[in-house]
């Protein structure tokens, strides 16, 4: 599948030679496929990284960024495609972490990968321990080398501290220094700034520039465009597992330029990230202006993840919460559902519900479609019928289970949502993602006295046919008089469904658009910019 018809030496892994080519020469060329179960994560995603550059890999959540870099680093196996390192083809089937490390690829993963009970130096030499005699590990020289290296590049580390005792920022620093100590010529950082304070972010970005100037190639996975602007020489944009655009700072930039990214067209990158299709006209009719408020949040906070949210949803209205994943959407949903402690006031159907149990909130007319059907939405080892009846005393009966009613309820939902297989006794684990999601939708939207629907990522990882049915059911719920709050990382989905959109960033609502402002051509760009923090509201 590779476009280059270079000498494909079947020699396989770790054939990368330690050539010391100048900046600009391609170190990595990749075109990769990956599938997780029924979910095609990467489809011929291309990435070319040159020596001495900072290459930003951007895209919305679920675009496949992490998967792509994990395949490069040999953490995850690729299904197909081609990978070339320093001009030598690599056998993907046998490409694993050890080979990648030997080829000079270092990775600092999103959640860290240190063995907590080991010290920083022990982690750094794990698997390649320097020996003084048979089985006797000698750590002293490695520790001194780590300390010296850290000081030289401006990332001071303390080699003898146990990794688990380090705060996240320091742990990440230690991992970067360890990777360089192991001789990384390509350093991959997967969303490194997520765990850092703003000052630490600035320091890290400056260090990345310095490393690039010294000849290290850097892949920075991010969805924050201000970081891209600050450090990137080149940018690859992934959307839905495909490379949709590649940008480069103008060629005349000197290799040691402090901020080559300032010459990148950030607006174009934002456009490429969120897509450019025009939103479909919403089928739902806008609610009356005097419709009663069915869900009201005033000053709702959850830890530092969600800060003083004010939000109201009226009967018949579909409100969308847009934002890049991890900006407080999960906490917002859990707070409304009563699955996490929150401060402030939450009213469901006009009743104060801040301290109510999840069951009590359902009684007030809430329906909750959780964001993760595998962990929260469904009891995977039970049947469709049992899942549709879980927690639904109105279906099962209070104590003795009314089997006939449970099966009838299942048959109704299976028919209405076209759940396949159409067997109430099929085990949910065996269903496709789309059909699993339909089961969640069926249980939640068939609740009686529905006043408010909370739908978190209702169509994530779901096939197109199921998306249409799920959207129809959500619109139907609004048309029947419920207020619907849709939280989604998919801007297209929100634009297609919602009457009104709010954008969250770092736990706050940073913007709102409604009505005509959602339909005009610039809406998507403006929202994309808000979501990625590239533009103030």
């Amino acid at each position: 599948m590779t476009q280059e018809s270079g000498p494909s030496s079947a020699a396989g892994a770790a054939s990368a030679r330690a050539t010391t080519g100048g900046a600009g020469e391609a170190l990595i060329r990749a075109e990769l496929d990956k599938r997780y179960g029924a979910n095609q994560v990467l489809t011929g995603a291309r990435l070319t990284v040159r020596r001495g550059t900072v290459h930003a890999l951007v895209g919305e959540n679920g675009a496949g960024k992490s998967t792509l870099v994990k395949i490069l680093a040999g953490v995850v196996h690729g299904d197909g495609g081609a990978l070339e390192i320093a001009g030598g083809a690599v056998e993907l089937a046998t490409w694993e972490r050890r080979a990648a490390r030997a080829a000079g690829i270092g990775i600092v993963q999103q959640h860290g990968a240190s063995a907590g009970a080991l010290s920083v130096v022990e982690n750094a030499v794990l698997g390649i321990e320097p020996l003084r005699g048979p089985g006797i590990v000698e750590l002293g020289p490695a520790a001194s080398a780590l300390r010296a290296l850290g000081e030289r590049i401006g990332l001071p580390v303390e080699p003898w501290v146990k990794a688990e005792r380090l705060p996240l920022g320091a742990a990440q620093r230690a991992e970067i220094v360890a990777a360089l100590h192991q001789g990384a010529k390509l350093l991959i950082l997967d969303e490194p700034t997520a765990v850092l304070t703003p000052v630490e972010v600035d320091g890290l970005l400056a260090t990345l520039r310095r490393l690039a100037a010294e000849g290290t190639a850097i892949v920075l996975v991010t969805h924050k465009l201000d970081e891209v602007r600050a450090v990137a020489d080149e940018v690859t944009v992934l959307r839905a597992g495909k490379t949709v655009a590649v940008f480069a700072a103008s060629r005349d930039a000197a290799p040691g330029d402090a901020a080559p990214g300032s010459r990148l067209d950030v607006a174009a990158i934002a456009r490429a990230m969120v897509g450019t299709d025009l939103p479909a006209a919403p089928a739902a009719v806008a609610p009356a202006a005097d419709a009663r408020t069915v869900l009201e949040l005033s000053g709702v906070s959850v830890g530092s993840e969600l800060r003083a949210i004010d939000l109201a949803v009226r009967a018949g209205e579909i409100v969308g919460v847009a934002g890049v994943d991890g900006n407080g959407q999960r906490e917002l949903a859990l707070a409304i559902a009563g699955l996490v402690k929150s401060t402030g006031e939450i009213r469901i159907g006009g009743q104060l519900a801040t301290r109510a149990s999840p069951a009590a909130r359902f009684a007030l007319g809430l329906a909750h479609i959780p964001e993760d059907r595998q962990h929260g939405g469904l009891w995977l080892d039970a049947t469709i019928a049992d899942n549709l009846a879980l927690g639904r005393a109105d279906v099962t009966g209070r104590f003795r289970i009314d089997r006939a009613r449970v099966l009838a309820h299942a048959a109704t939902q299976i028919a209405e949502l076209d759940i396949r297989p159409a067997a109430p006794t099929a085990v949910v684990r065996s269903l496709s993602g789309g059909n699993q999601q339909k089961v969640v939708i069926g249980r939640e939207l068939s609740r009686r006295g529905l006043s408010c629907v909370l739908a978190a990522q209702p169509t994530r990882g779901v096939d197109l046919g199921a998306v249409v049915r799920i959207h129809d059911r959500l619109r139907g719920a609004a048309a029947a008089g419920a207020g619907v709050l849709v939280i989604s990382a998919d801007l297209d989905e929100l634009l297609a469904l919602c009457h009104r959109l709010v954008v969250v960033l770092r736990g706050r609502i940073v913007g709102e658009r409604a009505g005509e402002a959602l339909r005009d051509a610039g809406a998507r760009n403006a929202l994309g910019a808000l979501m990625t923090g590239a533009e103030a509201a």
Partner: protein, 371 residues
Amino acid sequence: MTTPHAPGRPPDAREPGPDPVWVRLPQAFRIPFSGARREIQTAVIGLLVSIAIGSVMMLIVGKAPGQVWWVMLSETAGDPSLMGQALYRATGIMLTGLAVALPLEAGLFNIGGEAQVTAGVVACALVGTALPAGTPAAIAIPLCLLAAAASGGLIGGAIGGLRVARGAHEVITSIMLNSIVASFALYLGNRVMFRNGTTTGASIVSGAELPQLGLGGSSANASIFVAVLAVAVVWWLRAQTTWGLAWRAVGQSPEAARTAGISVGKVRIAVMTAAGALAGLAAANFVMGNKHAFEEGLGRGTGFAGISVALLGRMHPVGVVLAALVLGFLSSGGVAVSTYVPKELVEVLQPVVVLAVAAAVPLVRRMEAAA
């Protein structure tokens, strides 16, 4: 796919690591109950492997396995007293087996059976001796059963409560409570119950005694009906009620149960209380049906044996009954062949069954995947 992250997280917050071994361990034994065939296969393979291991051990001590097994079968089956002892043994481990199986289905590993049985024995004997002589059976028997169940339930509930309120793992607290309760029972025995110099307490009133089944003068008694009734009730709750649905949902998918509005904490406490009560009821077998008094060490080992029963019975109430009968028979069989092979050889088979069944779980799963 990028996994979500939280930009606003304080810098010292750490991602939770993988579950510790004591969380993963019970999961290794638990497989979703979706096919009776799979469970029966697992149990039969486990049993056959145990018999094979037992045979090897017999060879090592220089006996012909075929002969020993045949003697065990024929002698035990032909001797009413040995069969009665098998039933006596089965009664106790049926209840403690249920006390392990029920929480396992709810995602909890109750190895506090020892404490729960001992608490039941002490409470049953205390109430039985405190009742005025001549109390009619219609009053004495329910009162003693209630005392046994309540005290066992109290221990079980405490274990569940500690898990829910404080996050203390039930395996750890169970082990601790096992020794605490054993010591407390001995203390109580020495201070109030033991009669001059013996380790036996006063007899319970005759009205609280359960009749013997009379099998060759064995200890088998009417408490086996209590055990079978308990099994039937658990089976009915499990299959026919929203409680059963809730405890199985909590066991297999606690997040889904919580999201659907089920209070996971309440279910866990209720299940552990019920399990403790079931184990406590085993006192009926020992105190009311056999010894008619508190004795040091009475019922000891029954709680742990329940783990074997639950695993061999594949956590299903009906399976628990069958497993209890099989292991009860094995226990009598050990006596029957004690002239051929050391008694310990047969005793060792019970833990071997546990290991063999645990090993058979992934095997059957693989067989299923291959089919």
